[in-house]
């Protein structure tokens, strides 16, 4: 294995981990407010297809990213209406949203399958351009990659160092108590879903407009669920999510590296590395109170009328 291939794993981890990290951050905000969004896969797909379609039509990737973000927030608002206003079961609503997303995204993206777009431009760091192109292209990132770690820090700061974050976490722990102390759980949960949806939209935009520059039906291929797993992996902490997302996508990149190094281990087995990691983390931390979920996660807030 050469230096290039080792750096390559890191580069791949960053490239494909970005969409995972944005999505995970979005889900952390949702879950901190007490809402499990199992429809993430559908939200991502609708965001990815609408952003890709707009990029293909207008030839402006930034406009595409904007539409992706808004689509993500809108999809989450549908979930919000179901589980907050209509007080529906969160798991059932999330699944319904997901299947709705499968169909809607296929419909939106139908005429743009195989379309050629100019993806989000890569911005090279000063100094890198002196390296051979093979190396410099490893770390030639687009804007969304540069912004992802700051985004994680911002989410962490919002959740743990602002009044809004305190209220949001309070609602996630116990909505009645939060209400008694003068918070409006309904409004806070809508806000959480909206902000969460914006972040999921960014993740989806990175997938279709920046990284793959392509739309195919069901292109997320389970990344929405990996994000749900990453939320648990990172114990609902945005900073740990950075490590989680890099570890997950790094494991995929490492698997591909082993394959292409001619190491004769079944690639099927190597493909399970990310999931084995998740299971190990779940075994290690299990249900210990320190690492457990927000207390009213998944519970319907009945309100006080």
């Amino acid at each position: 294995m050469t230096l290039l291939s080792v750096l390559g794993v890191l580069s791949s981890a960053i490239f494909s981990g970005t969409s995972l990290l944005y999505t995970t951050l979005g889900e952390i905000i949702d879950q901190r407010s007490g809402i499990v969004n199992l429809g993430l896969e559908g939200v991502m797909l609708v965001s990815a297809s609408s952003g890709f379609a707009v990029t293909a039509i207008t030839d402006n990737p930034y406009l595409g990213v904007l539409v992706s973000i808004l689509a993500g927030a809108l999809m989450n608002m549908i979930l919000g209406f179901l589980v907050i206003s209509r007080r529906a079961n969160q798991l059932a609503s999330g699944l319904a949203l997901m299947f709705f997303g499968f169909g809607l995204s296929a419909w939106i993206g139908r005429s743009y399958v195989g379309a050629k777009i100019n993806g989000l431009p890569r911005i090279s760091l000063p100094g890198l351009s002196n390296l051979p192109v093979l190396y410099s292209s490893l770390f030639n990132f687009d804007l969304l990659i540069y912004l992802v770690i700051p985004a994680a820090i911002l989410v962490w700061w919002l959740l743990f160092h602002t009044r809004w974050g305190l209220g949001l976490r309070a609602v996630g722990e116990n909505a009645d108590t939060a209400y008694a102390s003068g918070r409006n759980p309904l409004r806070i949960r809508y806000q959480a879903l909206f902000v969460g949806g914006l972040l999921v939209g960014l993740g989806a935009a990175h997938l279709s407009i920046a990284y793959t520059m392509n739309w195919t039906e069901y292109m997320t291929a389970g990344r929405g669920f990996i994000a749900v797993a990453l939320v648990i992996f990172s114990k609902w902490n945005p900073l740990r999510a950075i490590v989680g997302a890099l570890l997950f996508s790094g494991a995929v990149a490492f698997q591909l590296l082993l394959q292409s190094s001619g190491i004769q281990i079944s690639p099927f087995l190597l493909d399970t590395i990310p999931y084995i990691l998740t299971i190990l983390v779940l075994i290690a931390w299990g249900g210990t109170p320190k690492h457990s979920a927000p207390a009213s996660l998944g519970r319907v807030y009945q309100g006080t009328e």
Binding site: S11, G114, P267
Partner: protein
């Protein structure tokens, strides 16, 4: 705590179910065959109604688009033909109802282009003896059921020659979906072609285990490039992500399935091959119309016009172009036989003995890589 436990259990069950269904791809109800795009033609108008169905979207710049364009060529060549087309029909059950609907609408000929639609079509052919069924790439035959296809191995060998000539690092990369017999055969033919002009060349094959996971295709392409690979080719549904990724890293690419792939690599394109079955399908349809259709196991090559080579990219020097075309001519006149023995596998075992040739029916059950390929064929 208890309810949380149940919730987690439910979530886990649902996730695993979804991942399973995800592998099978979701079927979208686009272009339901019950709603014909054109008004139902009357018998006097159409000399033949053809029902064509595809497994994926017909604008994928890949296999489905190539098949769609081949079917549409029938209509261009024989204007009195009506075509009812359905895309995105991944499952066998959906294929059966789609084909039955087409027959209800008067289809006298069914063209099924997806690999897994062979047996649904074969079953229906027994139920509707008056309808002619043609399947792309299958092997079954019947009274009113036959199949047709191009012969990709020759084309892959020629592309291998181009890759072997163009590489500077002597490392070629092949991104593939699954280790299936035909995919391994394509990779083997590609490598044999490359090795015939460049004995130092290695071909690394990486599998994504999905026909359409774009992000993983990008990961795999990057991973190969980071190993020093400077020519990338692929066998997946739609080559667009792999070719765009190679282009963005200034690495050569070679396309497959549809000639449209070239659009995605304006600068680093070497060449590519695609299916161009329009004339063959036109001929088949004309025999159905005049009543002379017979079930034949139809395979036709690059040299019969069933496949075509894309134009060379701007960076391919004239002498490489000449050499590639010379090899193509040698295959056409029989001087070069792609899978002529002796052929050794990765471990040095003889898989095709001296004086023998790997036959078509064995190509789909190949489970070895030739010497010089890096990767696991399982």
């Amino acid at each position: 705590m208890k309810s949380k436990f149940f919730q987690s259990m439910l979530a886990i069950t649902v996730i695993s179910l979804l991942l399973l269904t995800a592998c099978a791809k979701t079927e979208t109800p686009t272009e339901a065959p019950t709603e014909p795009t054109s008004p139902p033609p009357t018998e006097e108008e159409a000399c033949l109604i053809i029902g064509a169905l595809h497994g994926g979207p017909i604008n994928d710049a890949g296999y489905n688009q190539a098949m769609h364009e081949s079917v549409m060529a029938i209509k261009e060549n024989i204007p009195c033909v009506e075509i009812i087309e359905a895309e995105n029909v991944p499952e066998e059950a959906g294929a059966t109802t789609t084909m039955e609907n087409m027959i209800q609408q008067g289809a006298g000929m069914i063209i099924a282009t997806a690999f897994n639609h062979q047996y649904p079509a074969l079953e229906l052919s027994q139920k509707y003896p008056d309808v002619i069924f043609e399947h792309a790439g299958g092997w079954e035959m019947g009274e009113n059921f036959a199949n047709f296809f191009g012969e990709p191995p020759d084309a892959w060998y020629i592309m291998g020659v181009a890759a072997g000539k163009m590489t500077e690092t002597n490392k070629l990369g092949f991104v593939a979906a699954f280790p299936l017999g035909w995919t391994l055969t394509f990779a083997n033919a590609f490598h044999l072609g490359a090795a015939s002009v460049n004995p130092d060349v290695e071909t690394t094959v990486t599998f994504t285990f999905s026909w359409g996971d774009s992000a993983k295709e990008a990961d795999a392409t990057n991973s190969l490039i980071n190993q020093g690979v400077d020519v990338i080719t692929m066998h997946v549904d739609s080559p667009t992500t792999i070719i765009s990724t190679a282009e963005s890293r200034a690495v050569y690419s070679i396309g497959f399935q549809s000639l449209h792939a070239q659009e995605f690599a304006p600068e680093y394109w070497i060449s590519g091959t695609g299916y161009t079955l329009g004339d063959t399908l036109t001929w088949l349809a004309s025999t159905v119309i005049d009543g002379t259709w017979e079930p034949i196991f139809l395979r036709c090559s690059l040299f019969d016009g069933c496949m075509a080579m894309a134009p060379f990219g701007p960076r391919v020097p004239q002498e490489v172009q000449d050499e590639v075309l010379a090899v193509s001519a040698d295959i056409e006149n029989g001087t070069i036989v792609v899978f002529a023995g002796p052929i050794l596998d990765q471990d040095g075992n003889v898989v095709v003995a001296e004086g023998e040739v790997l036959t078509d029916d064995l190509m789909n059950s190949v489970d070895w890589f030739v010497e010089g390929i890096i990767g696991s064929p399982k």
